[in-house]
Symmetry: C2
Subunit: 204 residues, 2 copies
DNA sequence: CCGAACGGAATGAACATTCATTCCCAATCA
DNA sequence: TGATTGGGAATGAATGTTCATTCCGTTCGG
């Protein structure tokens, strides 16, 4: 991200790009394997092989296996958060805010199913560091605020805000999981139907 | 369960009981650790220590680490299935059937939170054998039948049956997860509120 | 006393990480 | 221009550790 006028005056751009590309290849390979076999079930040399690099190369980009899993977590959690925030209808009725969130999550889960599965499966795992957990916390606090505001306006059920959130997120995850397992085909129509169901679960 | 008039005519009850007890201790210890650290993250000697037996003893009761995880899966999946089937209101309206299922799941998840978390986390993992996956399939097929019957009666939304199931199960899991994380206190009232929400998600 | 059950050290395989070496390429020089 | 070279990047075999499983001397119930 930063471009320090470092040691060499005019750095080779192609070199920088190649570096970012390789780092990406490692992360993508790791996501695949972590989803398929879990963190402890995946060997670092396996990640290297799938990424098309040597085992030692991994350690030029990441300090440890844990650093990889945390980098993945923060990258995709950040990506999904940015997608939700972008164009969020701050002043709109709850139904519209809910629509924006649901479709945002669905767009992400459809575009990057592996990444979404990863975030699901590695939620609150012991190898996630404080930074990773902090990301999750901030997202949650933000959501709580919107739910409570909507409840005050009488647009959502008068139940614990956390309950409504857990039901909506849970319903979304449930649908995505069944789709991932091949029991459900993720068409735009199905996503819209699911959205309507979830809304009816939490609306006043 | 079965009492075959086997090899020894009158077997020593205390010995048999002690054996079952020790087997149980191993399974309970394994559930705890698998939930905390995952399958690959748990060492067999750790299981032995928590169960209060020697590492070698484990292999007198289970052929391998995989056999342990499958025994756990099948035991608790069977337990939860039996609980749901027991007294299921076969001829009642869908709302009542839903109530029975929701409360049955909730009773299980409250009584055995670790076991419920285990079933959640180890869903469709690569170390589950055909038998374990079969259990899951049969439960699902049964549920599908009830949902489709209720849809035919116009009591549930006219959407893909699998969608309604995934939303209801997902909502339940979402609530349990947040409770597990300490963000929600599982009182009977909260469970009832969640039930009402989930019902409104799927009812016609 | 006997045989089965037990415990825990022993074993061999697999793993995360390191490091001595090779490779690549851009800048330099003849 | 074409050969040379310096240094960062990449590599994969080597390392020390950890793990699932086995083995055998000991214990215990009957």
């Amino acid at each position: 991200m930063s471009s320090p006028a470092a040691t060499t005056s005019r750095t080779t751009l192609s070199g920088e790009a190649a570096k970012a590309f390789k780092r990406d290849a490692i992360l993508v390979a790791a996501v695949d394997l972590f989803v398929e076999r879990g963190f402890h079930g995946t060997a670092v040399p396996e990640i290297a092989e799938r990424a098309g690099v040597g085992a030692g190369t991994i350690y030029r980009y990441f300090a440890s296996k844990e650093a990889i899993v945390n980098a993945i977590y923060q990258r995709y959690k950040g990506e999904i958060f940015a997608r939700i925030m972008k164009g969020f209808p701050l002043e709109a009725p709850a139904r519209q805010q809910f629509h924006h969130m649901w479709q945002g999550f669905a767009a992400f889960a459809t575009a990057e199913p592996k990444a979404f599965a990863f975030l699901e499966l590695h939620h609150h795992a012991s190898y996630l560091d404080a930074e990773s957990c902090g990301v999750e916390d901030r997202v949650m606090r933000l959501g709580l605020g919107f739910v409570q505001a909507a409840q005050a306006r009488g647009e959502l059920k008068a139940m614990p805000a956390m309950l409504l959130i857990s039901i909506a997120i849970g319903a979304f995850n449930g649908v995505m999981r069944k789709a991932w397992e091949g029991h459900l085909e993720l068409t735009p129509e199905l996503i819209a139907q699911a959205e309507q169901c979830a809304w009816e679960a939490i609306r006043a």
